[in-house]
């Protein structure tokens, strides 16, 4: 839940020391060069060990864009710090007027000599309050046949004059997302990735990453196992939930669906491993994955019973001494997590957008 930036950075650096920070990168840029199957096993074991998430914006997102589409100078300049978690990145895609319809984005970057002048705002920017840099989709031209063609991919130093960050508190009470404003922000033209007007193509590759990355099957499985284990116990002397037939049936039903999704993921993996492009499955993974994630969160909520009610943010951060703790085990953050993860069916292209993509590209409708 709440995050202490120093702890997060130390954790990511510890993974770097192990050689696991950029497990998804090729060897030449400091990655592991693992096969897809090896990466899958790594992800699964990380989830099984309940490891904290690796903030995806650097290593998971902008890194691959830079080594795929960036210049040699950009690679040398940015990749080492991403790898070592020396620089915190955030993602500037959504705008107040451009959510599901991302291509309508309006943040402008106008060329002025050797710089771009950026004006506009980005919204729902995750952990921008800690970020040193932001990668943005910006509009460099409105004079194009398809509006996607006027979009470019730009890297912006958050310390540049004219950049400001305003927190957005979400319904669980946490500060994860922000609105980021750009007012006449001068960005050196050398921070443009690839060609002007090609940003949409690069960004789409990234979204594909984001969509496969959000299935979270291994972690959802881990959370279900944890719930099953707690259900066997008598919490505070109560009848164990395992004696509640209705509840256990619900766990079983989610387990069946999750097993199916695991095999859908493995099918994707098998296809890609044999050299085929990931296609429709990646969209299925995102929306089905988030649905199941949310289904498990709802079961935690249900398991908590009356202890879903207390809202005690301090105890998620500090932990309370046993005598003062409100709720036990899975109960303590069941409802904040349930509320917070309603976002999962909204971000990274809402589940409705995922279904549109499948309808169009898979069903040909």
């Amino acid at each position: 839940m709440p995050i202490e930036p120093e702890d997060q950075i130390n954790y990511q650096k510890a993974l770097f020391d192990k050689g696991w920070a950029a497990y998804n990168w090729p060897v030449e840029y400091g990655g592991t060069g693992w096969s897809l199957v090896q990466k899958y096993i790594f992800q699964t074991e990380m989830a099984n060990a309940d490891m904290p998430i690796f903030i995806p914006f650097g290593v998971g997102m902008v890194g691959p864009i830079i080594y795929s589409f960036g210049s040699d100078e950009q690679k040398q300049r940015f990749l080492p710090d991403i790898l070592e978690s020396n620089v915190w990145w955030c993602q500037g895609y959504s705008e107040p007027g451009s959510g599901s319809d991302l291509a309508s984005l309006k943040t402008r970057a106008d060329r002025d000599g050797d710089a771009y002048v950026v004006n506009g705002s980005k919204i729902w920017t995750t952990l921008a309050q800690f970020a040193d840099w932001i990668f943005c989709l910006v509009r460099t031209s409105s004079d194009v046949a398809r509006r996607q063609e006027g979009i470019s991919f730009l890297l912006i130093d958050m310390q540049t004059p004219g950049v400001s960050v305003k927190p957005i508190i979400t319904i669980d009470g946490s500060h994860e997302v922000n609105e980021v404003y750009f007012e006449n922000v001068r960005v050196p033209a050398e921070n443009l990735i690839g060609e002007e007007g090609k940003g949409w193509t690069y960004g789409k590759v990234l979204l594909q990453h984001e969509r496969t990355g959000t299935a979270g099957v291994a972690y959802t499985k881990y959370r279900l196992r944890k719930l099953r284990a707690q259900a066997q116990q008598s919490v505070r002397g109560a009848v164990p939930l395992s004696e509640d037939h209705n509840f256990m049936r619900k766990i079983a039903a989610v387990e069946v669906e999750l097993k199916a999704l695991e095999y859908t993921e493995l099918r994707t993996l098998a296809a890609v491993s044999s050299g085929k492009a990931p296609g429709a499955e990646s969209s299925i993974l995102k929306f089905k994955g988030t649905e199941l994630q949310q289904a498990v969160d709802a079961l935690y909520m249900e398991a908590a019973g009356y202890y879903a009610l207390p809202y005690v943010p301090e105890q998620y951060v500090l932990g309370f001494p046993e005598d003062d703790r409100i709720g036990e085990g899975v109960e303590t953050d069941a409802s904040p997590r349930y509320f917070n993860y309603r976002k999962a069916s909204i971000y990274g292209g809402s589940n409705e957008i995922q279904k549109n993509i499948i309808a169009k590209h898979v069903l040909g409708l």
Partner: protein, 367 residues
């Protein structure tokens, strides 16, 4: 059948509707919720002045003789305005016990000040181990001298931290209900916020000595009274949930008309239109069932008990559905603390679980 309101009910509906529309906007609600006590004390005084805190009590007790229908009208409007003031805890729960069991002296001491807004009250019906089986309690009451000594733990007592008077079920099989001053020696309260913006407390009673006058009714009266009061509370939160569901449906439809993506309002997409029709259907079906359940209980028909289980099952499932859909269709805005939709959703989520969740009530209907 005649579903029209009588003159008194229409006036009540109008007055709460006006209050919510004119004096209780979302900013006021949020400011009240964010205060130390989790509600607005001035707002509560207004409720007293308007007679709402007197509604379900007998005229002889200074009340207005309202029944389940009047509570339904009030709570529906409270739902629409997402009213955070502790009406349920004071008037329906604690007040519900007092009006049924208290002697004239006890009413003067506890009930009058509650109606007049000079005292806050709470009913400690949940215990750490009893989940939704409120009859199964481990808090003990042992006769000592003229009075009693109470020991035990109470969970998530709504308004428990604010309460001046606590209604404590104790004594297992021969359950008794006690009205005790919240500052009695031996009472420890851990007061906290709840996810719906209100407040509750975990309460420990350690050798709390109370006089004979703390006992409400007779030894063994507790169980049936507690059940009757919880039934009232279920009808009340069901009405509140209907008010919320209807508000969320309206808000979502409005938003979909104004939010433009892909060059058109998102409400023009058929896929979303059908989902809003489903939200409307869930809300209106809930309202229909609420009318049946409330009238069955007002008239004490043979179906009254089943109607309680049915309406709680309905609002737990439909409320969760409508709440989740409202957030989803609002996108990021639905996730934002500054915006009302997410808070309506959280209240529906709480209502879905308190007084027994959907499964618990469906089990009782299935038997």
């Amino acid at each position: 059948m005649d579903f029209s309101l009588n003159e008194f009910q229409s006036m009540l509906d109008d007055s709460v509707e006006k209050f919510v529309s004119n004096e209780y906007d979302f900013e006021t609600r949020q400011a009240n919720a964010a205060s130390d006590i989790g509600y607005g004390s001035a707002t509560w005084q207004t409720f007293c002045e308007l007679g709402w805190t007197a509604m379900p009590f007998a005229e002889a007790d200074g009340g207005l003789d309202g029944g389940p229908l009047e509570t339904m009208i009030l709570m529906q409007q409270f739902g629409r305005g997402l009213v955070v003031e502790p009406y349920l805890a004071n008037i329906i729960l604690a007040g519900g016990v007092l009006r049924r069991l208290a002697t004239a002296e006890q009413k003067t001491r506890w009930l009058q000040p509650i109606i007049e807004g000079q005292m806050q009250a709470a009913l400690a019906f949940a215990e750490p181990q009893n989940r939704y089986e409120f009859g199964e309690i481990t808090t003990t009451a042992v006769a000592a001298g003229d009075g009693w000594v109470l020991n035990g733990k109470k969970s998530v007592v709504l308004n428990g931290g604010n309460a001046d008077v606590l209604i404590i079920p104790a004594g297992g099989d021969g359950m008794c209900l006690f009205a005790i001053s919240a500052d009695s020696p031996g009472i420890r309260r851990q007061d906290y916020q709840t996810v719906d913006g209100s407040r509750a407390a975990d309460i420990t009673l350690e050798n709390v000595a109370v006089g004979a006058d703390a006992l409400l009714g007779k030894v063994g009266d507790g169980r049936a009274t507690l059940e009757a009061v919880i039934d009232d509370a279920i009808l009340a939160v069901a009405a509140e949930a209907v008010g919320i569901m209807r508000a969320l449906t309206t808000k979502t439809v409005e938003y979909s008309k104004n939010r433009v993506q892909f060059g058109v309002p998102i409400g023009s997409f058929q896929a979303l239109q059908h989902r809003m029709v489903d939200m409307l259907t869930a809300s209106e079906q809930s309202y229909s069932l609420l009318l049946w359940a409330t009238m069955a209980n007002a008239d004490k028909t043979d179906e009254a008990k089943r109607a309680i289980n049915a309406i709680k099952y309905q609002v737990s499932t439909a409320g969760t559905y409508v709440g989740q859909e409202a957030v989803q269709l609002h996108g990021g805005m639905g996730m934002s603390w500054e915006f009302d939709v997410g808070h309506y959703f959280k209240r529906l989520s709480v209502i879905a679980q308190i007084f027994g969740n959907a499964d618990w009530h469906l089990d009782r209907l299935a038997k």
